[in-house]
Amino acid sequence: MNELEIKDLNAYYGDFLAVSQVNMDIPDKSITAFIGPSGCGKSTLLRTLNRMHEAVPGGRITGEVALEGQDLYGSGVDPVGVRRKVGMVFQKANPFPSMSIYENVIAGVRLRNKRISRKDADELVERSLRQANLWDEVHDRLQTPGGALSGGQQQRLCIARAVAVEPKVILLDEPCSALDPVSTLAIEQLLLELKERYTVVIVTHNMQQAARVSDQTAFFHADAEAWAELTRLEATLGDKSLPQGTRPPGRLVEYAPTDELFNNPRNKATADYLSGRFG
């Protein structure tokens, strides 16, 4: 079953088209990796999946993103509600500095102004920290500030914070790019466990990471030559829908099960990227 369905998605910053015409289905309870050179729009696309893209001034989209068949961008849909179903972990670990580890984990509940009994909170904190493989390391110092943990622990705290609100989908934006190899391994191990419960989408600049953890991989690329050709073509056809003369937008080049994409890329650009010829 498909958890997320992306249809004809264009993402803009003001007038600048950052991601163009993406169509893809992301299956339930699996890990999907977005890879591609920097500037290919993979992070932007990720942020459209929980409407965080709109948090950037000028950020807007056209097209459709459906979660369990329901359009996240439909009229009357509150972006705040969307983010309760689709959680996110950022590139740089960002635990709330004024809160303890304990408070960080239940921040999602508190920030929604929900009341929670002490007992339920204790349980939620333990469950979430266990899911994030962090419980054993921090259970004896839950009241210390989250910022005092190591980088890898902070990132797992952020994952615990995200799972504590029981989302359906967890988005991760290059969660390991600032971590050492050992911490990275711990997070990757964690992701494999998380996919039992959640649909996971991860943006990574690390191809090996995508190969190690993901079930399917999407390769994005902002191809200048193809873009130039396309705009020329559409200009001659009289189509003015594409902005002229800007940086090329990111496009979904190839999307396939991870084994297939890495072993038998169908597109030449994918093959070039995977063999390290650019990026």
Binding site: R83, G87, P97, A107, N113, R161
Partner: protein
């Protein structure tokens, strides 16, 4: 002025050191440049030392003359019925506390809310926001006596020209305090990393909840420090209080009505309306000045230490 303009107008300097031969004239030019450098350095240091002279003289006078009346009576009695020696400044201290408290009550909530609007809600490049920022700058430059005239104009229009009160003084001081709070709060809010806001939003929190529970707590130490600095500035304001809360010899706890003494005005009136025993009045003025400076110094110190203390606790 003209000499300064000359210095500023020289775009390139005379690096009068040709690199051809190390003959006598080159060495001479080099050492001349070095001597000039030393002399100018000494001049700048002298300017820096020059500011210490009035400061030391002022602090020394305030402390040495102010100690005269630092006694129990000074802090426990008013000037009611006092002619000549004795009496105290309790009524002025209480007045200053009440007026300052009321000022905070008005300016801090509005100031923080306005700063939140400027940093969190206003769209980048918003006309309204840049207009407000400009007017905050303008407000910063309002002479304090004009703030007093404003409060007088407002209250006298409604309550008659003879109306004097602590609340009118608080209104005048709020006008001076508001831009300080807005500016310092805006500065610290801008320092709160953007990814904390994003983390909050990504958890499905409403924007105002993120501001209230994530952004403001992160900025709190800086906000407190800004407010303390603002209080240190307005607590010594004299001119507006002289106009709208006036001076009084007796205690007045009610800020809504009647003249209300305050420390700065107390200093001024003790000096200005000396009785026959001039020494007693001068002593009281200096002691009040010492108390006021001590309060200001404590506030300024607290403003500096607040961020460290508040962060260390957590």
């Amino acid at each position: 002025m003209t000499q300064l303009d000359n210095q500023l107008a020289i775009p390139e300097l005379q690096l009068d050191v040709p690199v051809v031969h190390e003959d006598q004239s080159v060495l001479k030019a080099q050492s001349r440049a070095l001597i000039k450098d030393k002399v100018i350095a000494a001049l700048f240091a002298l300017a820096a030392v020059a500011i210490a002279i009035p400061l030391i003289s002022l602090l020394w006078t305030v402390v040495s003359r102010g100690l005269a009346r630092i006694d129990a009576e000074f802090f426990t009695s008013s000037m009611k019925g006092v002619v000549g020696a004795g009496g105290g400044a309790l009524h002025a201290i209480v007045g200053t506390l009440e007026i300052t408290g009321l000022t905070l009550l008005v300016s801090v909530p509005i100031g923080i809310a306005a700063a939140v609007f400027l940093t969190e809600y206003a769209a980048p490049g918003s006309r309204f926001a840049s207009c407000v920022r400009f007017l905050v700058d303008v407000m910063t430059g309002i002479p304090s006596i004009v703030a007093g005239l404003f409060a007088y104009s407002l209250f006298s229009l409604v309550l008659g020209p003879a109306y004097r009160s602590g609340i009118a003084a608080a209104l005048a001081l709020s006008l001076l305090m508001l831009p300080v709070v807005i500016r310092s709060t805006e500065e610290v809010l801008l320092l709160v990393p953007h990814d904390l806001r994003e983390a909050g939003w990504a958890l499905g929190a409403e924007k105002h909840t993120v501001i209230w529970k994530v952004v403001l707590p992160a900025a709190l130490p800086g906000v407190i420090s800004g407010v303390l600095n603002g209080v240190a500035r307005i607590i010594g304001e004299t001119a507006p209080l002289l106009l709208v809360s006036g001076f009084a010899d007796a205690m007045n706890y009610n800020p809504l009505e009647g003249r209300m003494a305050s420390l700065p005005v107390y200093i001024y009136t003790q000096w200005q309306m000396k009785g026959l025993d001039a020494q007693a009045y001068d002593d009281r003025a200096w002691s009040a000045a010492l108390v006021l400076i001590a309060v200001v110094a404590v506030l300024a110190l607290a403003a500096r230490l607040a961020p460290r203390l508040l962060k260390g606790k957590k």
